[in-house]
Amino acid sequence: MKTDLLSAAGGGTAEISVNPATTPAATGAGDLAAPLYIAWQVTNECNLACLHCIEESGPGKAFRDELSRPQIFEFLNQAMDQQVPYLSFSGGEPTLHPLFFEMVEYVCARNAQLKIETNGHGLTLEHCLRLKSLGVKAVQVSLDGASRETFNRMRVRGDFDRALEGIRNLGTAGVPIEINYSPTLFNTHEIGRAVDLAYELGAGSFYTGRTMYTGNAVKTWHRLVPTEAQYEAFFEVLHAKSAEYRGRMRVHFHEMGLLEELRYRLHHPAALLIVLPNGLVKLINALPFVCGDLRTQSLEEIWAKFQCAWQDPRVAQFVEDLANDPARTSVLHQWVYL
């Protein structure tokens, strides 16, 4: 028996609808069978020791209990079976993970889209060609400055020219490029030039926002935090650059402060899981709450827990406490299990 398409959909007017949302959050995480996006910090090991690193990554900083090979592929297999359409690998520095290319190959072969977030220092042409052939969606490189002086000051052990070389190798290989920029008191004045540089390097997207008071930034905050006047000028330039590059490169930036963002998320949780190197799953990067452990729970169980966990009164309380004490973000690495 045929079903009437229109009445089945509940009315006599056009009922074939597509409703745009701004982020995965707006679909309502509670309605979805699985996450839309998994952001996985595959290792805490890093070759750099950046002043602002929110993960406290650095040389020798790999967690002792990072996921093993069987745990990694069990997790990825579950994500692929549940049709998670989009993943990102970050860190630490994800390209340092001994199974990095194997993991990339696995995800791309299962037809999910994958973004790599890297400092770009290991992006040889050979590696970039390999990423291209595997079909990664994009590689996002951190470039916090338009000059060697500012970049090297922020990225301890890092080298501006090496990062540029890595980005150029991506361009040569034909891998879509994205640039990420963290503002500080000594680089906000370079933002306009940095956006121009990103475009010259062939980037399709440029991302920035406010630097967070957590991780390494807690110790270096007095040397890092831009003044409000600097932020104002910074965002003014970004508005202009966004208009200038419209249709050629997307310039994304979050002017919203952390508190506003978290208050919004309390009611609109993103359909996004943050997975730590040891398999713990956080509600969101900017909160200390953990809602699951991939070593002992299935992705399906964790997704169900994630949706309830946002309603836990401790989460709302923490967010409201931030209004009185913004420095509470300094304890984001002291995980609270929900």
Binding site: K2, L5, A14, I16, S17, V18, A21, A33, L36
Partner: protein
């Protein structure tokens, strides 16, 4: 519009079925689009390789149609998706 050209999702767009219908996820801009059940049914047919003409025929097999409504609305829907860069010929 070429009615016998197969349509496909744009390169950066993923479709997943959900209880409420489905979602389209444009991963370049990281935008999500929620689909109602009828829209999700159309996406399934497109995923199976349908062109516009075949899509209407397949829908008419499954759903009763009042006049040209199915054809008109499915055309409007796919045009909407193309305009948003989610679907291509």
């Amino acid at each position: 519009m070429d009615a016998d050209r197969a349509m496909k999702l744009a390169k950066w767009v993923k479709f997943r079925e959900e209880k409420f219908g489905g979602v389209l996820f444009e991963t370049r801009s990281e935008k999500v689009f929620a689909l109602n059940p009828t829209a999700a049914a159309i996406m399934r047919e497109i995923g199976a390789g349908c062109d516009q003409a075949a899509l209407v025929a397949r829908l008419k097999e499954r759903f009763s149609d009042r006049g040209e409504t199915l054809e008109r609305e499915s055309l409007a829907f796919t045009a909407n998706l193309k305009e948003r860069g989610l679907l291509e010929d």
